[in-house]
Amino acid sequence: MERVTKEEVPSKILQALLSTDSDISVDGALENEMILNMGPQHPATHGVLRLLLRLDGETVIACVPELGYLHRGYEKMAENMTYYEFIPHTDRLDYLSPMANNVAWAMAVEKLAGIESPARAQYIRMMITELARIASHLVAIGALAMDVGALTVFLWTLREREKILDIWDILCGARFTNSYTRIGGVANDAQPEALAKVKWFIDQYEPNLDECEKLINTNRIFIERLDGVGVISAQDAIEIGFTGPNLRGSGVEFDLRRATPYLFYNEIDFNIPVYKEGDCLARYFVRADETRESIKIIRQVLDKMPQGEVLANSPKKVLPKKTEIYSKMEELIHDFMIVNFGINPPVGEVYSAVENPKGELGFYLVSNGEGRPWKCKIRSPSMVNLQALPMLVKGHMVSDVVAIIGSIDPVMGEADK
């Protein structure tokens, strides 16, 4: 593999910027053009995304995204900790929907270890995944509106998201970094208060979303800013590896909840919103419609949720309850073994992917029979979706760059891992 030294990086980027076509003459190619460094500290780059833009006036000729400012080496870190210990780290991947990441990780490990979590736990997981989807899409919609200048919508959508965080607070005691799932189930049963609050939330959500949408959907400025901007065809979207709302905004009806049903999604009736245009507006509409579908899913999940245990009965793999650890010998031993040596899944490899708010979040795990994964690869949707950015912004203006980033909705915690 070609290694790049620290000093070489800027010139490499410069080379990438220069190698693209331009009307300006070759000698002194940058004489009439400007290289604008956008980020990593910039109000509109959603975290620490750095873009190098080559501008002719305000038109973008070339764009080179530079990732890695939030790189924490999670894939390597996973190799040095037990499967349980990695749960809190999944919170920090897509930090706008930590619950969904927890579920994805727990499902991957369960597939590797061959554990089946109880039905109630699976229904709770569906509920929190969909709540996480709503929370994440609300931020995406609000941030997109804020990027094109409508600040009020952002505050209104955050107000709705706040209610979801309150639900999570009741459910697991944490508002933001939840770490709610456990291998083989969830940390604790969903309390009646939490379920009542979820019911209350889904009943009042749609009128409130309509209110937010009224402010922007009929606004000519908002539509004109997004309509026809950052168009990506279905073919290109598939080739880049788009997943999630971005792919469905390009007219491809692909949703992992339908394509490879997991949890109990095959028992649930819901639609997959698809828009054909492939522009920023279509991606925005997909997200707004998806939250409505999520509400539908949660409603059905609440109706169908059975009673029962929330942790699988598999003592060698699943952490016992704290009260039992303090009172029973067997549980104390299991707890000691699981915490110190891990759950030792059988030798093998597994790829488990779920439909996260941002797209397909996949964990590829290789076990050599020890308590720690031999290899962990995170297939993060934001990282893949961001690849389309240079293609999308080419020929647009600086203002559109901001709108396009907002519509792709990357979360740098996930993109940089």
Binding site: E58, T152, L215, N219, I221, S399
Partner: protein
Amino acid sequence: MIYDYLYKLTGSEIWAGVIQSFFPLFLFILPFALFAVWLERKVSAHMQDRLGPMRVGYHGALQTIADILKLLQKEDIVATENDKPLFNLAPVIVFAGSYAVFAAIPFSGAFIGSNIDLGLFFIIAVSGLVVAGILMAGWASNNKYSLLGAMRSAAQIISYEIPTIIVVLTIVMITGTLSLYKLSELQSGYFWNWMIFGGPGPGLHKFLFIPFMFIGFIILYISTLAEVNRTPFDIPEAESELVAGYHTEYSGMKFAMFFLAEYANMFAVSAIVAAVFFGGYQSPFGYLGNAFNLPWLIPIEQFFWFTAKGLFFVFVQMWLRWTLPRLRVDQLMAVCWKYLIPISFVNLIIVGLISVL
């Protein structure tokens, strides 16, 4: 007139002039800016289901003063790569431009800083100074974002001056005066004498004028929004694109001067709209001073009405800011050159034809 009174008091033309020129600053612009900043925060907060500043004073009334104290203590950062003379001069010019506008604004019949016959012309001309300051700030900052912001600002303000001037020309054509004092006096009486309702006097003309006056008012209001860089035309300082536009590099009191100039400008353009279309300082329903035979009360009432009208339009600016997204730079130009200018020209011609009738 204030000037005559000051002349009598001090016995010197120079002192009277100097004192009078400081009048609007200390009596009006500073208190107004303090109030407007607080109002902006409160309006935005209540539109966004928040409370806004609540800690300093009653409902955060002293928040702006606290902020200014903070800004005064801030280090005045001048980067090594900045063009220092221009960098230091720019906020002064921007502020001077917006401050000079107040000279010709008729706050009441008895208080016009400088009652010149070319008041309207003076205001439009002198507010062009702001562009020079903004360009200077953008260029001297040696920052690409500032430069982009300054370029956008220059293009925008110059473009939008055209519809402004055409609408003002429409009014000048009807009334035959450029003096804001005369314009206001012309619209005296009740609110149906305001230009927006077809101007003074009875007759068929008046009713024919009304729709075109409304069109003129809307064009003028939109283009003044663009001239003071308010949403949806705030692209020079579009925070999500250009960080803070031309004043990205400024800190401390220099930043505060841009800030102050922005709010002073907001009132200035609102005052022009009020003076041209909404009767200036004239009360819509007659004066208490006339009713109770207290002639000294009338100028105070006039000041109240003028401020109230101006503040109303400032409020509408804030309202729009927290409702509308921001236009892209090419769309902004399209709005001006494809819609506002043709419509205002047609409006000018039609109004001209009606007044010839």
